[in-house]
């Protein structure tokens, strides 16, 4: 089951992208898109043999909802920092967070989530100690950031990818 979901997700995503690009649901385009999706997936498997094995995909919806809310919230927070920057420059800084997740696909998702959220940029992950260095625009409560990232993002990603 796990192997099957891992194999079917990429062709499915490619097919959806094809249909969106062509803005149609006609039978011919579905057929053509499915053919391309399968061929590209086969080619990708040669390029990157390490396949992601996501499971419990329903958790992804909750995670994405949290990410959306956090992006809106951080947009407002960063806007406030910028508007106040004439009076007071923000307190920028790096924080180090020990991660438990090892799966490269989960880590890639975490990197994209953290960097796409305004106010935080993924900086480095040390390969031997698995410690993440994160740059934060308005660093006040370091422990709060660590708790937020571990509970809100890392745990669901670990449940999905490991």
């Amino acid at each position: 089951m796990r192997r099957l979901t891992g194999r079917i997700l990429l062709p499915l995503a490619l097919l959806v992208a094809w249909l969106l690009l062509n803005d149609t649901l006609s039978f011919g385009q579905v057929l053509l898109g499915a053919l391309f999706a399968m061929l590209i997936s086969l080619a990708i498997r040669q390029l990157r043999p390490l396949a992601a094995q996501p499971h419990r995909l329903h958790l992804l919806f909750g995670l994405l909802w949290h990410v959306l809310l956090d992006i809106i919230r951080s947009n407002i927070a960063v806007a406030a920092v910028i508007l106040g920057a004439n009076r007071q420059q923000p307190n920028v800084g790096f924080i180090t967070i020990p991660l438990d997740m090892r799966d490269p696909h989960g880590l890639a998702m975490l990197a994209v989530i953290l960097t796409a959220t305004p106010g935080t940029v993924w900086t480095d992950l040390s390969p031997d100690t698995n410690k993440l260095t994160l740059h934060v625009l308005d660093l006040k409560d370091e422990a709060g950031w660590i708790r937020l990232i571990k509970d809100r993002y890392e745990r669901p990603l670990m449940e999905i990818f490991e």
């Binding site: 992208a17 969106l20 690009l21 803005d23 992006i71 809106i72 947009n75 960063v78 806007a79 920092v81 910028i82 508007l83 920057a85 004439n86 420059q89 923000p90 920028v92 990197a111 994209v112 960097t115 796409a116 959220t117 305004p118 106010g119 935080t120 940029v121 993924w122 900086t123 480095d124 740059h135 625009l137």
Partner: protein
């Protein structure tokens, strides 16, 4: 627009979303100007990239669906491409800056 009148139920939210998106992009640019130092500045343009782009895309979906009189959602692909590509450039810039400062 071939002369189609948009109903105010579509036009007003679309206009509000476009203004919000534009303001967010402007704020991001302002942040680039006001914040000091590379490490603070790298955070500012994310505003236009995330919520700003999102607002413009939702406005585009609303207006084109109203004009075509069916759901037009291929703007979703733009969101996907922005979300996939912009963090990668941000991370590359960050690493380059750190390498330079070392």
């Amino acid at each position: 627009m071939n002369g189609t009148e948009l109903s105010p139920w579509i036009a007003l939210p679309a206009a509000a979303l476009l203004i919000t998106g534009g303001l967010l992009g402007l704020l991001g640019a302002l942040g680039l100007l006001r914040l000091s130092g590379f490490y603070a500045r790298i955070h500012a343009p994310t505003l236009g990239n995330t919520l700003g782009a999102g607002c413009v895309l939702i406005a585009s979906i609303l207006v084109s669906s109203a004009i075509a009189e069916r759901p037009v959602v291929h703007e979703v692909l733009i969101t996907l491409c922005v979300i996939l590509s912009s963090p990668v450039t941000a991370m590359l810039l960050m690493r380059a800056a750190i390498y330079r400062d070392r």
